[in-house]
Subunit: 631 residues, 2 copies
């Protein structure tokens, strides 16, 4: 949207200057009171923040208003400035923020979190905010929302490579509804940014297709002009604001030490004299001791989709194709190009099978290039705006490379469906750098990102439909190979027409009493075959498919442990995956049973899936032999 | 080093052209034979590779020659071209590579791995190779080795943000001994690079201070001139080589599908006719069936350091300071600025306490800026060149953000000492985005990256000295707070003068028989205090400090489990850390014992370490209460 501003009057400027004085006082009070926090960058960016909120279309009475401008603060450590600005714009009581800053249990945390009204995205790990802003800008365009996204960043932060990725994505998709702001105070923790890591910030943005506006970041009229100007370019704009670290208090100005250190009480008194304000530190110290911390919760726009009609596969099919088919079905069942969903790819569309989705809903498919960090964050941020976001990639890129992006997504309570193919050793001949044998071991460190590992194409179909109808993060990992649908001994497909996926429920694939196998993912059919081989030799072994290792089925485990001998089979690091989950649950439940964990013991070789499985001991024959040897 | 080339003669060019024909034939033969692999980029980059090896100072008889030029192939999928080039330069038999390409058990894997003679760095995850090359170039300069480093990359790969980080680091440290090469065939998996993700590659390099040379990547004289030119600039140089995907076979040229798909036998026959070579596919197919795959191993230059003299702390000290002191001691004990070591920081030197090291050995300290991905890879690559490399960062950056860089480091059998501070909830008031409660849960997915968690400053001191004298990767995580040295009931320091760290050994901090506590890291003193509270109430509880959770002390566990009731205490995700390791080991050893895991149950609040510990139930009183409640 192009916007026209009525120029600031002298009165407007005076009002903003007075706000700035109040805000600077609040910044110093809260950091000195907490004896912790980042006053320096807060004071260099406060004028811009106030100038921005003076124009931004936000409503403190309705902070989640649908067509609000979205302001992302990527350098989350300037929280004192952000809290002050939001308070001065009516989002909450300034005294509460000053009193409770960094106090245990308060929403006014060290780094901004979306539990605070007005905060769109929790940050603190630098370099991710621009991607989040791009995600918001993208969904605004998708949903026809005529708003603008602003992203504040530090100058040291510009060193992070993910920022260049975000720039390119924004340009590719013509996102002119986003404006970035760099608080160019030229200091980072280690000192002068030119000394810590020389960088030509301006040319970097230009080379990626952005327009640059340079201003004095402490001049409200320049700030105001820049904001208006930025919203009327036909490219994304970055405003580089020349500022002064610690601006407003003479003895703090241009000193890197105030990046992350507050001043003491004596200095605070002096600062108050300079600012011409009353020293109320003791008053707030008293309040802080007695206050009941203000809580906050996150509330994103939820959305669920029509699951469409399940498919049943009776022939050998790769889970990837089942995922791609289900995804396209869901798009069709929800209005094709109008479906409230988006799919993100990193130059692997042919392999991760999202082509049919793109055909069904071309405007909802986004090609993020070989820029996984950026894409993971964009997808996460987009998922909070009333769409279901799917990010599909190889396991090593979608999980291992982007773990920290998903950690921040999870902290932000996103609604991301992460579907990774080529997990485990089942990656074709690509070798160890492509073998994601840690998808569960890594992702189960995230508290709200359950992992669902389908056993075959039929279960994949049902799992994808299930996650499409739930809010929240899920990882669905799958291998590359075509898999035989899991069948009973009569040859009937087990996850057939009547099957409905239920989160946390184990699937009994074979009955038996001599021992039990619990298997996860791709090797399910091998485990079944192993059991059938043993059956032919007169030994009946239970086989359980564990699709939800993070939330183990207790009844199934009890029954399996009842055999006295339990084998876990997984195409995953044998120390950190299914076997580890089973061991922990056995102990938690006080079940006694021998456990033999079969899985990937070390970085593995490159070869055909069949050869590699045989090498790693995950083929049916080796599984059967191991069981026989242990009975 | 500046180098002057005698210009290529017509004979030289003819010889190279003939090599190129042989190499192209080999590329097609091996990929068609394996029915897998990446012929397109192999054929676009083969001329440059041959031109480079024609000039590079490498010795096939002594591939690890100390002053060799180092060639890093970041786009590891062009392995067919690399294997062909190395074979034609005498590193091994070409027929072996052709026969065994991507065959299970052969060193000729899908992506290049350093098990192959002549390969410096295993790649396959794009965007990391330039950082590895920068690491090599840096150590060459440190060690006074007059060589040159060449890094080959794809053009799509340029989208990765880590590449811009590497560029900046190289310029900051004036590394003119590195030359990058971009195979600019303008196609990536998804098609035209301008369609997949538009990018101004040339201006990006220039904005970061690199010089650019543009050539026809199929003209040997242009390649040769560019190489000579590049080695005589006073800035790092990138050679952008205009090439043709699939070059040399008419029906393959400029088709993106040949990025990752081989031609079939019929097309192969046609290609042989075009190349004017014999179709020997059947011959190789026969060999492939019968061959015994060629193995390879990695052998890096090892180094160990003099550990210096341990320090004993009798007063409250943060582990961070103990680490910083030990590091500086080691530098001093090994020749200060000549010590065969390097320390890498990401703008957190004051917090991670490497300042004393920098004072002792300023030429061995490297400030990587806020560019963790790049720094993690640089440190890993540097560690393979006869120095001990230390990378120190906050946990969330050094572990969570850079996990995949460490995964590739580990696959490359690096010698990286990763020392992370601010782990667990003990991060000051920075809040959940800074709380690394997954350092063990994440890193134990790597097969050769043991985690050692020191309990107090004394153990930290000994652990740092221990890892300095061992080859291999280690993670040593620690919190932020000052900790009381762990003491016995008489007040004597437990890890005192006589204490020697032994990997895998648990430390008994208190004796008792009613129950046992196993504790990891920062909460050790709280666990001891809890036991002492219980002791005063007449209940004696064993306390074990587990510094090596990945390799549990079996004797200690047996003794602890013998009490019948075991509590694990950790400032870590309660599902994936010490408690999970103990549970798995209990089951593996068939020990029966109740286990109650005390740890971090969810993303936590922001506040002082003490308040946050109390909130999370990790303070001494809550630990004691939980034990009492369960006895």
């Amino acid at each position: 949207m192009n916007r026209e501003f009525t120029p600031l009057t002298d009165n407007d400027v005076s009002r903003l200057q007075e706000q700035a004085r109040t805000a600077r006082t609040a910044i110093l009070t809260m950091t000195t009171l907490a004896a912790s926090g980042h006053p320096g960058g807060s004071m260099s960016s406060i004028d811009f923040l106030l100038g921005l909120y003076n124009r931004a279309n936000v409503d403190p009475k309705n902070p989640r208003m649908k067509d609000r401008d979205r302001i992302v603060v990527s350098n989350g450590h300037i929280s004192p400035a952000v809290y002050s600005t939001l308070a001065l714009n009516g989002f909450f009581d300034l005294d509460a923020a000053v009193t409770e800053f960094r106090l245990a249990g308060s929403m006014f945390e060290g780094h901004v979190e979306p539990i605070v009204p007005g905060i769109e995205w929790g940050t603190g790990n630098l370099g991710q905010g621009l991607s989040a802003g791009v995600g918001f800008a993208l969904v605004s365009r998708l949903n026809g929302i005529d708003n603008h996204v602003f992203v504040l960043m530090g100058d040291g932060e510009q060193q992070k490579g993910q920022i260049a990725e975000a720039r390119r994505f924004a340009v590719k998709y013509g996102l002119t509804n986003i404006t970035a702001f760099i608080d160019y105070n030229q200091l980072q923790i280690g000192g002068d940014i030119k000394h810590v890591m020389p960088q030509n910030i301006r040319d970097g943005y230009i080379s990626d297709g952005w327009d640059v506006i340079e201003i004095d970041g402490h001049d409200f009229r320049e700030i105001d002009h820049a904001l208006e100007d930025a919203m009327n370019h036909d490219a994304p704009v970055v405003i580089i604001a020349n500022t002064i670290m610690g601006k407003g208090v003479s003895f703090m100005e241009n000193l890197a030490k105030y990046h992350g250190s507050p001043i003491n009480a004596e200095q605070y008194a002096q600062a108050c004299r300079e600012l011409g304000v009353e020293d109320r530190l003791e008053y707030y110290a008293g309040r802080r001791k007695e206050c009941k911390p203000t809580h906050g919760t996150i509330s994103h726009t939820e959305v669920t989709l029509n699951e469409g009609t399940p498919r049943v596969y009776d022939k050998k099919t790769d889970n990837r194709s089942a995922w791609g088919n289900a995804l396209a079905d869901i798009a069709k069942a929800n209005g094709d190009n109008n479906a409230p969903m988006a799919v993100f790819d990193c130059d692997l569309q042919g392999s991760v099978k999202t082509g049919d989705f793109e055909n069904a809903a071309p405007g909802r498919f986004f090609q993020g290039g070989i820029m996984e960090h950026n894409t993971a964050t964009i997808a996460g941020a987009a998922s909070t705006c009333g769409i279901q976001a799917y990010f599909s990639d190889f396991g090593v890129f979608g999980v291992d490379e982007t773990y920290n992006q998903h950690r921040l997504n999870d902290i932000n309570e996103t609604n991301l469906k992460l579907v990774t193919t080529h997990v485990g050793l089942d990656v074709g001949e690509d070798g160890k750098t492509h073998q994601c044998v840690d998808y569960l071991g890594v992702m189960r460190n995230l508290y709200h990102f359950p992992v669902i590992v389908p056993a075959d194409p039929n279960q994949t179909d049902r799992v994808i439909r299930y996650i499409s109808s739930r809010y929240g993060n899920f990882l669905v990992p799958m291998g590359r190979s075509k898999l035989e649908p899991v069948r009973d001994r009569d040859g009937n497909v087990l996850f057939g027409e009547d099957y409905k996926f239920e989160y946390g429920k184990a699937d009994k694939l074979r009955d038996g009493s001599r021992a039990a196998i619990m298997v996860m993912g791709t090797p399910a059919d091998n485990a079944v075959k192993a059991a059938d081989m043993l059956h032919e030799g007169g030994t009946d072994v239970q086989v359980w498919n564990i699709s939800c290792p993070c939330d183990m089925d207790e009844e199934a485990l009890k029954e399996a442990a009842g055999t006295g001998m339990l084998f876990t089979v997984e195409d995953h690091n044998v120390h950190t995956g299914l076997g580890a989950c089973v061991a922990m649950k056995l102990v938690d439940m006080g079940l006694r049973c021998r456990l033999i964990r079969i899985g990937v013991e070390d970085y593995c070789i490159s070869g055909s899936a069949e050869d590699v499985y045989r090498y790693a001991g995950l083929d049916a024959q080796t599984i059967a032999d191991k069981i026989k040897d242990n009975l």
